[in-house]
């Protein structure tokens, strides 16, 4: 099925949403991503990714309570759907399997 595959950035966003729990909204995701990966991420990219992921069914969203500091705008908070969790899991599994298939001494770097 088209859309079950996710890209690297999308995978990271999904994972970060999982990490952040209640605070998983645009700016929060951006900050966490920057913190974890050390690269600068634009808010536009985050929005594009979250919206695409939502459309594909990996994410769900709800608006938070009114907040004062954002000029009265509500936060749009994301949670990872069951489908999203399965996809993440299968992506991780695929990688783990692949790692295991690598011949013992061909990599200098070892997994784990």
């Amino acid at each position: 099925m088209k859309g079950t595959n996710i890209g690297e950035f999308e995978e990271l966003v999904l994972l970060v949403v999982g990490v952040l729990q209640d605070d998983a909204y645009g700016v929060g995701i951006k900050k966490e991503l920057e913190k974890q990966t050390g690269r600068s991420v634009s808010i536009g990219a985050v929005h594009a990714a979250t919206n695409r992921l939502e459309l594909k069914g990996f994410l769900e969203s709800h608006f938070s309570q009114l907040v004062r500091e954002r000029g009265g705008k509500r936060k749009k908070c994301y949670t990872v759907t069951l489908f999203g969790q399965q996809t993440l899991k299968s992506a991780m599994d695929t990688r783990a399997r692949l790692w295991q298939l690598i011949p013992e001494n061909s990599f200098v770097v070892k997994p784990g």
């Binding site: 700016v27 951006k30 634009s42 695409r52 749009k76």
Partner: protein
């Protein structure tokens, strides 16, 4: 938050971003902005904000994805909008009528102006070779005057010598100063639009020949081609081809062609074309360089350039003409003749000026603006009544852009209805417009695709212009405020409306001032002493038969008691234009002054009541000195100059008498000096002129008594008929002829008057609409005031005060503007008025009065209403 994100970036985001994402995106951006301000300072933060906004401009956020159901809804919604719009129109028929009448009048003006402009711009465009057809002008070195015709040798010589030329044609028009007598059986008329033309006429111009062969029609001597109109005039229902017309009672001409009447947008208007070979006089037939009476057209080859041809002319002329002084010849494109003031030598045609087209167009735009402002004002004023509807629509889920579309749609509807009205008005007004613009448009002319297309475009533009502000304001109402309770128009809305009304009155007042200045100047020019008396002066053509027995003829005519005076001249004094140059050898051997020349009879000065400054007028003896019997080199000419002609020589009139003078081959002396008199328009300074003693006259001037003009005229005519049966009694009044010099100013004054009237009329519609809304809104206030003892008069004054202030402000803005424009206009005149206070006061009083009357009607009604009626509810 200390500072907020860049407003425009925010606006851009709002307009572009899909509503579903907008809140999330903007919230996040704001938060980041606040964060960035602390980290990097406001400048950087703003820069990041902009960057982020642009990064969101991708398909996801911009596209407005519509669900399928909305397209169904769209039709229903628009049906609903239309229904509501119609209900609103019919709910307030009065206001709707005001609105539409204003817009309708505005667009009708625009339609007529558009038609006129297109017609003027399309002049001569029907000539297929027009883009490479040029009329030749010449100008002698060191002289200002441009001569719009050329020697008859020019065209044939150039065609022989220059391979760049495809063809060319000479047109000779004697008719304007001495008409032809054309006769077929008992039909005899004087005709002045009879041109002698080369046989190549139809190669150059694309006039349609209905009968006859364009290649052959004008080849043989004594061939004549006449227009349909003339064919009907002379031959009635008879077939004209092959018949003969007798011209000047001497020669018979064979009709070789019938031509379509020249269209109204042709710069050449002729009735007859005669083959050039019909000339019998060698003076015409020989190619000569010592004349300049032939309007000359050249057609260049497809890829030849006018400037290179122009550059080659002097060499060729030098070789063939052997003259010492060679004029500069210039080529002027056929398409430019009508509007650029280039002109061709057809004095009969009033050339238009681009300036008047601009004025026309400018006024059209002004009127449209005023009408649009009316719509805008009335629509926003009525917003109060629509507020609840808007609130309700929003509550039920309408977005702002839905409402925006609704109100834009409404304005398009109203403008469309006004457009239909405009078509009707334009058709009704067409005859009077024709008179004003001096054109002959018929209703069918309005249905041309370019006119209708243009006006539809204009209407669409007006709908946008008039509708956009109300649509923006109305769609921006917040449901909570409009539904909560009593809703009043916002302050900014009121200010905007006042501003717009002021703009309307600025335009109106400026136009009124303009009108009165033009009127004053016109009055001034008509009343200024001309230096001669042109009242009740008839100008009639002269024939050789009258001239032969002139003394007897005159004494017979003078026996009629109502004929007061009679004289002869080469031209009417309003049409002196023959250019001579004069040299006074006693003063300066070299100095040459251009003078206009007039040949006049000995009693001319007395008959016209002109004043002599020094010397005498031409005498009997002077005439004898230039008699035919005397060999030409022994003739001595007596000249009478005007004061202006002496000015360049710097001598007084008394000194000038008896000084030797040399004028275009005539040796002579100055016999007298007359006081300056206006023989041309007062745009120009009085030019140097000279009276010549030759007895070569074209016009009879008769002064008749002004009492019982009609009766007098018929008596004079009777006598004329008896004495000169062959010469038609086709007279012109000299004062009217003079007034005709100002036809364009007269046109302008009428135009200004009309448009000033229209603008004030339309502006008052707007005012009326506004005041009626104000009175409705303030009905309760008025009621309370009345109960507390205010009188009707004070209330009317109170209501009118607001608008009076606006008019005063408008007046203060309009006056300097108008002053500037009108001084500019007046600068064109050598003899002019100063702009006094009269027009300014007139405009102030006029506008205030009209506006006061308009508003008083409504405010009086409101003020005199019974307070119980407005206060009982609640």
């Amino acid at each position: 938050m200390k500072s907020s994100p860049p407003k425009f970036a925010r606006f851009l985001l709002k307009t572009c971003c899909d509503a579903r994402f907008h809140e999330e995106v903007e919230g996040d951006l704001d938060e980041l902005f606040a964060h960035n301000i602390q980290m990097h300072g406001p400048k950087k933060a703003a820069w990041y904000y902009w960057k982020d906004v642009f990064k969101h401009f991708n398909w996801y956020f911009i596209s407005r994805r519509r669900t399928k159901s909305s397209s169904q809804n769209l039709i229903d919604m628009w049906t609903n909008y239309l229904r509501i719009a119609f209900r609103n129109i019919f709910k307030n028929p009065g206001y709707s009528a005001l609105n539409m009448l204003g817009l309708g009048v505005g667009m009708a003006c625009a339609l007529l102006i558009l038609k006129y402009s297109l017609h003027e711009l399309g002049f001569d465009k029907f000539h297929e070779k027009g883009d490479r057809t040029y009329v030749v002008h010449m100008q002698f070195p060191n002289e200002e005057e441009i001569i719009t015709s050329a020697p008859n040798a020019l065209v044939p010589t150039l065609i022989r010598e220059l391979p760049e030329l495809e063809t060319g044609v000479r047109i000779f028009n004697r008719g304007s100063y001495s008409p032809f007598t054309v006769k077929y059986k008992e039909n005899v008329f004087k005709e002045n639009r009879l041109f002698h033309v080369d046989s190549t006429f139809f190669d150059v111009f694309s006039f349609k020949l209905l009968e006859g062969d364009p290649k052959r029609a004008l080849v043989n001597p004594k061939s004549i081609v006449l227009t349909e109109e003339m064919a009907a005039k002379y031959f009635g229902s008879e077939e004209p081809m092959g018949k003969t017309l007798r011209i000047d009672n001497r020669h018979d001409y064979l009709v070789t062609g019938v031509i379509e009447n020249p269209p109204s947008n042709s710069h050449i208007h002729f009735d007859f074309l005669v083959s050039y070979t019909s000339f019998t006089n060698r003076f015409f037939l020989q190619e000569r360089w010592d004349n300049a009476s032939y309007t000359s057209y050249l057609v260049l080859n497809e890829n030849a350039s006018a400037s290179s041809v122009e550059a080659k002319i002097p060499g060729i002329v030098k070789r063939t003409s052997e003259a010492e002084e060679i004029p500069r010849y210039s080529l002027n494109n056929l398409f430019d003749i009508h509007l650029s003031g280039v002109g061709a030598a057809f004095g009969l045609e009033a050339q238009n000026e681009m300036q008047y087209l601009y004025i026309f167009g400018f006024i059209g735009v002004l009127i449209l603006i005023i009408a649009s402002i009316n719509y805008t004002n009335l629509a926003t004023a009525r917003a109060v009544f629509r507020a609840k509807e808007i609130g309700m629509r929003k509550v039920l889920g309408a977005y702002r852009f839905n409402l925006f579309h609704q109100f834009m749609g409404e304005s398009i509807l109203v403008v469309f209805m006004a457009f239909l009205l405009a078509l009707l008005l334009a058709v009704v007004a067409l005859p009077s417009f024709n008179q004003l613009a001096d054109r002959q448009f018929v209703i069918a002319d309005l249905w041309q695709s370019n006119v209708i297309g243009g006006i539809v475009l204009v209407a669409f533009f007006v709908a946008m212009l008039a509708g956009i502000y109300p649509a923006l304001v109305l769609s921006g109402f917040r449901p909570i405020t409009v539904l909560r309770g009593s809703f009043k128009n916002s302050k900014s809305g009121v200010v905007m409306r006042k501003l717009l009304v002021t703009v309307q009155f600025v335009i109106s007042i400026a136009l009124i001032i303009g009108t009165s200045v033009v009127f004053e100047q016109l009055k001034f020019m008509k009343q200024k002493e001309l230096g001669y008396n042109n009242d009740n002066m008839l100008i009639l053509p002269l024939s050789s038969s009258i001239l032969r027995n002139y003394p007897a003829f005159k004494s017979e005519m003078m026996r009629e008691s109502s004929v007061l005076d009679m004289t002869l001249a080469s031209e009417s004094p309003t049409q002196i234009n023959a250019g001579y140059s004069i040299i006074l050898k006693d003063i300066d051997e070299e100095k040459k002054v251009m003078v206009a020349g007039l040949r006049a009879d000995l009693d001319f000065l007395g008959a016209l009541q002109m004043e002599l400054v020094a010397g005498t007028f031409i005498t009997e003896a002077d005439v004898k000195n230039i008699a035919r019997e005397i060999p030409s080199e022994d003739r001595v000419f007596a000249f009478v100059l005007n004061e202006e002609a002496l000015a360049p020589f710097g001598i007084s009139p008394e000194e000038a008498i008896g000084k030797r003078a040399y004028m275009n081959g005539r040796n002579g002396f100055i016999r007298g000096v007359v006081k300056n008199f206006h023989f041309a328009s007062m745009r120009e300074k009085i030019r140097p002129m000279a009276f010549l003693p030759e007895r070569d006259f074209n016009k009879v001037l008769i002064r008749i008594s002004g009492q019982n003009l009609e009766n007098t005229l018929s008596k004079v005519q009777e006598r004329w008929r008896r004495l000169a049966p062959n010469v038609p009694f086709e007279y012109e009044f000299m004062d009217l002829q003079y007034a005709n010099l100002y036809s364009s100013e007269q046109k302008l004054s009428k135009l200004f008057g009309l448009f000033a009237g229209l603008t004030i009329f339309i502006s008052c519609f707007g005012l009326l609409g506004l005041i009626s809304f104000t009175t409705i809104q303030r009905a309760r206030e008025i009621g309370v005031r009345k109960v507390l003892g205010a009188s009707t008069n004070t209330l009317v004054l109170m209501l009118n005060k607001d608008f009076s202030k606006l008019i005063l402000v408008a007046f203060l803005i309009a006056t300097p503007l108008a002053y500037l424009f009108m001084s500019n206009w007046l600068a064109e005149f050598q003899y002019k008025i100063g702009i006094g206070v009269t027009p300014i006061i007139l405009s102030l009083v006029g506008t205030t009065l009209i506006a006061f009357l308009t508003t008083s009607f409504q405010s009086f009604r409101a003020a005199s209403a019974n307070p119980v009626d407005v206060l009982k509810e609640q």
